[in-house]
């Protein structure tokens, strides 16, 4: 968590005190300790196995089921104790304040869920044949409150402790939360199953319920792992395409980063941001279809040579067409050299006929080209490149995305690309003219 602001500390303190006071008020009379102890141990054990997920994703499915089961079986106070156990997993690592916050957050939300359950007419205790269907509404209310309180409290602390200069608040996992919220509510149903089964199979109930939960968690972990290796593989392959030309090394990576910056700035959904990340990485794979001697030519290009260069977005599309991406990413790759004024290629689309992804890619693409070293000039400073983007804004680029990119650049900055190291071997070629560079457009021989 690093250094916390005073407000964040105050917030964590408030949550902790509220949780402590509410739980201390009980009621503890008639509390069925056997449920609390068993479920508490269960949560501690399940939470001790850390799950590696992408940043910002939290997995607490099995604990939420156990907490909700304890809401039904043991009431608010019991649920709060089980909730507190959630944060006591034997996992190493989390900061002490984080532990305090997690403990009180889970305890507080479980307590609130228990209160709502009773308020909506739920009876605490072992459910029997007559409890259904009356128990479903109070249980659903409790589940909703548990999930909402959890997400609310968590968003609060994430918002207060976010690093100031990096993520704009609007993108702070709002899209992510909606998805997580739904799946959490889905898992919550296991809580009711756990409580109901207790009267049939006793202690086996939670164990039986945990199997599907663990399987789901396994699948999520696998997904995250696969996604990580997928990204690494795509990155490596793109780099392989780029090795042909020392000057454009890292270009795909940086265009990808720039496109994501724009996409986040204009508030694109998480899924589309992912898609544009890949689109940026893959936008120039078609360049391989352009003969090396054309890319290396220093003089003016013949019409045929220019046509060969203009073909590369289509070549790229040919390569990536069969990948099960969002169609938007494909459209972006195909049209990333269209211009707003309709004078681009391959189709000569204009204005909003050009797919949104393509307009985003075009800005990031040109910017990176200008701020990187080329054989015919050194890297231009960021300010100068921004100037150039503004100059072409409205003719070549979509002004909205230029503005968004400039805003994101001002906040996040732009890492200076490594100057290219010219290798002594004969493996690499050098681009003599960059088709991406708006400041030095390709020169074509006038045949007429």
């Amino acid at each position: 968590m690093g250094k916390l602001s005073r407000v964040a500390l105050l917030y964590i303190g408030a949550v902790a005190v509220t949780a402590a006071v509410l739980v201390a008020r009980g009621p503890f009379t008639g509390l069925k300790w056997q449920y609390v102890v068993f479920l508490g141990i269960l949560v501690i054990v399940t939470e001790s196995r850390a799950t590696q997920l992408r940043k910002g994703q939290l997995s607490w499915s099995s604990s939420s089921a156990a907490m909700l089961a304890s809401v039904v079986l043991a009431g608010p106070a019991g649920a709060a104790i089980v909730g507190a156990c959630t944060a006591m997993g034997l996992r190493r690592g989390p900061h002490i304040l984080q532990r305090v916050f997690n403990t009180s957050m889970y305890a507080l939300s479980a307590y609130l869920a228990g209160r709502v359950f009773i308020a909506l007419g739920g009876h605490v205790g072992l459910p029997n044949e007559n409890s259904f269907p009356d128990i479903i509404a109070p249980f659903a209310g409790a589940a909703l409150i548990l999930v909402a309180a959890n997400h609310g409290l968590l968003s609060g602390v994430l918002w207060l402790t976010r690093s100031k200069d990096r993520t704009p608040a609007s993108t702070l996992g709002v899209g992510l939360s909606a998805r997580l919220l739904l799946s959490d509510l889905g898992y919550a149903a296991y809580g009711l199953l756990m409580a109901a089964l207790w009267s049939v199979v006793g202690f086996f109930a939670p164990l039986l319920v945990l199997i599907p939960l663990f399987v789901a968690r396994w699948a999520i972990t696998q997904f995250a792992e696969q996604q990580k290796s997928y990204e690494a593989t795509v990155g490596a392959l793109c780099q392989a395409v780029e090795t042909k030309d020392f000057y454009t090394r890292g270009h795909s990576d940086r265009v990808s980063r720039g496109s994501v910056m724009i996409a986040q700035e204009i508030g694109m959904r998480g899924e589309r941001v992912e898609a544009i990340r890949y689109a940026g990485m893959l936008h120039d794979v078609g360049k391989l279809g352009v003969p090396t001697k054309v890319l290396q030519k220093t003089g003016k290009l013949t019409e045929e040579e220019y046509a060969a260069i203009q073909l590369h977005p289509m070549r790229g599309l040919d390569i990536v067409r069969e990948i099960g991406f969002l169609d938007e990413a494909l459209a972006g790759i195909m049209h990333h050299h269209e211009r707003i004024d309709g004078r681009g290629y391959p189709m000569g689309l204009a204005g909003h006929e050009i797919p949104e992804f393509a307009r985003v890619l075009a800005v990031a693409d040109a910017f990176d080209s200008m701020t990187s070293n080329r054989s015919y000039r050194g890297a231009r400073p960021v300010a100068e490149a921004i100037e150039e983007l503004r100059k072409w804004s409205g003719t070549q680029f979509d002004p909205a995305f230029v503005d968004a990119f400039v805003a994101a650049l001002n906040r996040e900055g732009w890492p200076r690309p490594e100057p290219p190291v010219l290798a002594s071997d004969d493996l690499t070629a050098v681009t003599a003219q960059d088709h991406d560079d708006p400041g030095a457009p390709l020169r074509v021989i006038d045949s007429l």
Binding site: S183, G186, R217, I319, L427
Partner: protein
């Protein structure tokens, strides 16, 4: 080119293999008998039957694709198993015959499969038949016992019996699916069974546990247990779907990016794809398990990626025609590219060693002397480069590398040609080189694969 691809890739619905026919026929006969008897006796507890039928149909509608072209319907399967294992709904003791279980499960499955057919997706009858047979087995064992009073009084016994039946059903499904795959892909049964169990284990555990959960929960919650239970299983299925989705995208991406060598003019069109398909077929013939088969496929797809780093394309891309040091250099460069992904370490190793001769024979090394030309670092333990070290013979290249070596050489010689004579000649040429260059077992497997293929054409 594309037409050939379509000819070679047989879809399961285009070809009904004998095993599939047998399975479907067995399920069909059973089914007719069951439906006839149910019709004669009349449907008992129609409300419960309809509720479970609806759950099964819903599950069948939400089929799930697992890695390796498998399709399952976990929710429907769990629902059908639960119906077979049902003892009581609330206080009402369920009296239902095994025939009725089979009938309801079938109707549910068919209703759930109809929308798939409507949008032009395959019906996957054999998968449905396999699931149905498993449910039928459980039903015929458990239904006569369900009314038993000892079982009713002793829940421990009931619990044990139901658990073992659920496990039995899942094992049976794995065996049936493995048999189908043996038929479909010419895989070995033991290999297919182990692969099937490995892939199905996590989801199967969830299906079995869910079936038990519904059956038990119905005693307390009545039919509401179906509704309550559907939500979490759906979420589990969504998690699985995302996992399977990224696996599929991964493979598609590697396939697509492997094509860059073709578009760049380094390799003949379709080369990587053909080599990878041939390599996988050989691997299956040699009994390689699925995870390693996937690595083999990745490596075969990317075996020429190192050519990207060459300034001038090799004429026709035929790596078999260039000198050994150059081949080795391409392999090294390719392996370096793959290595950068960090996650495909073993794939990089396979690509790195794809040119090594099967056995390091002195003559083979001396035949290609060019120490100055090698790409710098010979891989550790490489028998083909550097002076042969004294002591124990260095380990040969991994099986996957040997397979790619053979498949690559075969494709360089035959290309996209369909001529069986040319293929036979190519196999013959590889066979002549099995003393040191190519692994004899791999070449024999290649020969079997190629023969089978020419029979198909």
């Amino acid at each position: 080119m594309t037409s050939r691809r379509h000819e070679l890739r047989r879809y399961p619905w285009q070809v009904r293999d004998s095993g599939q026919l047998l399975l479907v026929a067995a399920a069909g006969v059973w089914l007719v008998a069951a439906v006839a008897q149910t019709a004669a006796e009349g449907l008992k507890d129609p409300r419960i039957a309809i509720a479970f039928g609806a759950l099964i149909a819903f599950g069948e509608l939400l089929r799930l694709n697992l890695p390796g072209d498998r399709e399952t319907a976990p929710i429907g399967f769990a629902g059908a198993l639960a119906y077979a294992l049902l003892i009581r709904v609330g206080t009402h003791v369920v009296q239902l015959s095994a025939e009725q279980v089979v009938t309801v499960a079938t109707i549910g499955m068919i209703i759930g499969a109809l929308p798939h057919l409507a949008v032009g997706r395959p019906a996957r009858v054999s998968g449905m038949a396999a699931r149905l047979l498993c449910v039928a087995c459980v039903a015929y064992i458990f239904r006569p016992l369900a009314g038993n009073s000892t079982l009713d009084r002793n829940w421990g016994l009931a619990f044990t019996l139901m658990t073992s039946l659920a496990v039995l059903a899942l094992l049976l499904e794995a065996v049936l699916t493995a048999l189908l795959r043996v038929d479909e892909q010419q895989a070995r049964f033991r290999v297919a069974l182990v692969d099937e169990m490995r892939v199905q284990l996590p989801l199967g555990a969830a299906v079995g546990a869910s079936a038990l959960l519904i059956a038990f929960a119905a005693e307390v919650m009545g039919l509401y247990s179906l509704a309550v239970f559907t939500a979490p299983l759906l979420v589990t299925q969504v998690a699985f779907r995302r996992y399977a989705g990224i696996r599929a995208t991964y493979l598609q991406t590697v396939r697509a990016l492997a094509k860059v060598t073709e578009i760049g003019g380094y390799v003949e069109a379709g080369h990587s794809e053909r080599v990878s398909r041939l390599a996988v077929a050989i691997g299956r013939e040699l009994g390689i398990h699925e995870p390693q088969l996937l690595e083999l496929e990745y490596a075969a797809l990317m075996h020429d990626i190192g050519q990207l780093s060459l300034r001038d394309p090799i004429p026709g891309g035929a790596t078999v025609l260039v000198s050994r040091p150059d081949q080795q250099r391409i392999a090294e460069l390719g392996a370096d590219v793959i290595q950068q992904a960090q996650v495909l370490g073993s794939v990089a190793e396979i690509v790195r060693r794809q040119n090594e001769p099967y056995r390091a024979v002195e003559g083979a090394v001396n035949g290609h002397p060019a120490p100055g030309h090698t790409a710098g670092r010979p891989p550790p333990g490489s028998p083909s480069l550097g002076s042969p070290s004294p002591g124990p013979p260095p380990p040969g290249p991994p099986l996957s590398s040997r397979i790619i070596k053979a498949a690559n050489a075969f494709d360089d010689l035959v290309g996209s040609s369909l001529d069986p004579g040319r293929a036979a000649a190519a196999v013959q040429r590889l066979r002549l080189d099995t003393a040191s260059e190519y692994d004899p077992a791999t070449v024999e497997a290649l020969s079997r694969v190629v023969n089978r293929r020419s029979l198909l054409l």
